[in-house]
Amino acid sequence: MKAIWIDDDGFRSKSLIDLLDLYGINVEFCDTYETGINKIASSKDKIDVIILDIMMAPPLTSIHGNSQKTGIYLYNEIRGKYNGPIIFYSVLKNVQAVEELLKVDKKLASLNKPCPIEKIVETVIKLKNE
């Protein structure tokens, strides 16, 4: 399986990337908004899941400038072009905007850090089968 993970904290993501690889999920990591968008647009392989951080630096061209919601804007931009599973993976809990999206998007899930690997993998499989 192929995953794209967009998170501005590359330093703390390495262990999960290696771990997911052991579970057969190959992760391409992007540490900015723009590189994530470009990676998704340019990917030749089928993307099985996209993992998004919520709080991250907004894009340089952003008009909203709210780092608390960068992941939400990213989701909105991606969702127009990509119909596969998306997982919000963040320390932030009970984000209202995410809760609202979860009600309407069956291929969307939200997991809180730290999250056991089994839970992550289980969620990916569940979303793929939706």
């Binding site: 771990l19 730290p114 690997i117």
Partner: protein, 737 residues
Amino acid sequence: MKNLNFLNFLKKEGNDTSYLEILQYSPAEISVIEMKPGSNQFDIIFINKLKAKQFDIADEGNIIGKKCYSIFEPNQLSPAEDTDHCKNCPSLEAYSLEGKIIHIDWSYYNKAKKEVRFTSLTAQRIPHTTKVIEICRDSTIRKRISDLIIEIGGVKRREDIDEIIFKGFLEQLYFERCRIYEYSESKKKFILKKFKKAKRDENNKLIGYEDIEFNNILNNTFPEQYILSENTKALPKIYVAQNHIKPSYKKKNYVYLKEGEYDNSDIYDKKGYPIWVDIPILSTNKVLGKISIDKRIDVDMSPDLGIEDYDIEIIGLFAQNIGNIIEKLKLLNISKLHEINEIVLKNDKTQIDQNLTQILDKGCDYLGSSNGKIIIDMNENVKIIEILDGQIKPPYTTDYSNTIYNELKEHKTKTHKIFDLNSETHIKEYSDVNHKIGIRYCLLNPIIDENNNLLGTWYQESFDKFDDDIISRTGMLANQTAIAITSIKQYLELQKERDSAKKYQEEAENALKERETFFETAEHEMMAPLDPILHCFEFLGKKLEKSSDSKVRYTIKDGINHCHFLNNTFYNINLLRSNLALNKKPISIFSDIIIPMVETLQDYANCSKMEIVYYGIKNVAEIMMLDEMLIKNVFFNLIRNAVKYSNPGAAILIGGVKVMDGYSYIEVVNYGIGIPLGEEEDIFTVYKRCDNAKIMNPSGMGIGLSIVKRIIDMHSGYIKVTQNSNPTIFELRLPKV
């Protein structure tokens, strides 16, 4: 008389008719004329519109009637309009001379007598012209006085009455001077209060009033019989200097004074004003005062005042209305005080700021009433404030204010006190102002609040002794004032407290925000590295799952469990300060929550040689609608507490008990130190820790069980703790849906 053409009669050449003849032909309530001696001109004729019909004056639309009347009303129309009117008048040829209408085609000059005085009994002299213009009584004097009666009925202040009196007699009825007196029962005299004179321009047109200086001298020599007495009737009394009139003009109702009886008196100052009228101001049962009016008169002219017997009646009625309104306004003070109370009740900040805050901040030492106003003297030497309009208006000299202030300081009592200001003690201070106007008595009524504090004094002064009614009313006003001042003070104190509370609230909110920011930052900084640590252990666990070294496998598992433990601990703190939101989904309570939690904490329990055992999986509903994260936290807290507060070797049991009425019953049993009797409910209070728990484990915060109860309550469940000596049983009841 009906067919008489009155105009033609007047135009008749060489008319040498007598005054009485003219009068005979005069159509009753109308006008005629006046002419200066030697002049061949006279002023306009004016004819009552209704009467005109009787005299065959057809063209009434132009020269008579309402239109004419309005044209000649003084001070209302411009000369140009007057001229236009006259130009359009076919019967008369007229031109304007300095705004006065002169009709030159009427030459009724009596050559034999060398004078013409065609003044009917109904004439009204208008002072701004040297001629006499007759005007219809029904439309002038009576109408004007009726208007004044209506106007006086609407006044709300004593001063306004005086203004209407001056306006009425000086402006509307053309008198030149007007005095207003108050009657003193104790002195049996009228005391002069105000004296004004009409101020006129070079054309004799009224442009305002001017005050005339006066003195009240108590023992004047003016003949007592000429002064209105207490038993006077409502009708005005007219006085005439006898040497100013010819005997033929005498009227029986006038009082004729001989020389020396009037013009030698400095007090009454009638020189040059040989005719005057005294009009009594009467209430229903007594004389309140009088109005005295007068005017100059030329020796050669008619001595009448332009008022007749039936005018006098309506002027008397006007005076009586004045009396009634003065009586009514004695209640004015009460209404003013109501206004203060309303200001307080409305909490109108602007009004309070303007009028009252200042007073109360500096302390209210003296409050009184003078001429219907409420004034507050803020301390011994400071200004007096007119409370209702905020104007600073000191009515008395400082000495007088100080005297009053000192009196009330010495008079700290709950009852009123009356001062006779003419006594020797008071005469010095009193003479400054009040002596001039004849005030003798002063009533001080202390304003005392409910705590018996003297806030000030209600003060009232009078020419006469205060009767019981006044004393009682003043007492009531003092009580109302105390309530008003107390209310204002309370309001201001409350406002201060509100401001203070608001400040503290803002500080508390800021502190809370800072705390929240700190927690959020700390949580993020702690939880973010916990994620890679967990995954490092998981990575190692996956890589080494088939390792033969059990110690390696155990260490990796231990690392993972510590990560979960730390995560749950942070979650507890997070829950304590957050607004919890339920995110329910179908969950198997044992396989999704209890069993993983037991696995997480089993090693933790094993370290204390304890074992966590679960049972009765099938005794509860297989699937329940729960918030997975929150219910996990419930069992994390209950099991961790059981481990923390049990002795080594004890067992911890988690069992499904039953399903009843749609609820699943689950128990968490421990054989720990127990809960002191009577404190079973307290343990669910945040930060509450039992003494035995503190001894056994000093590091706890006392938040776990409060969170447990909160989460269970949110699920519409129930938790209770029971102890039968040992064990301690936490019983949970969770709904299926």
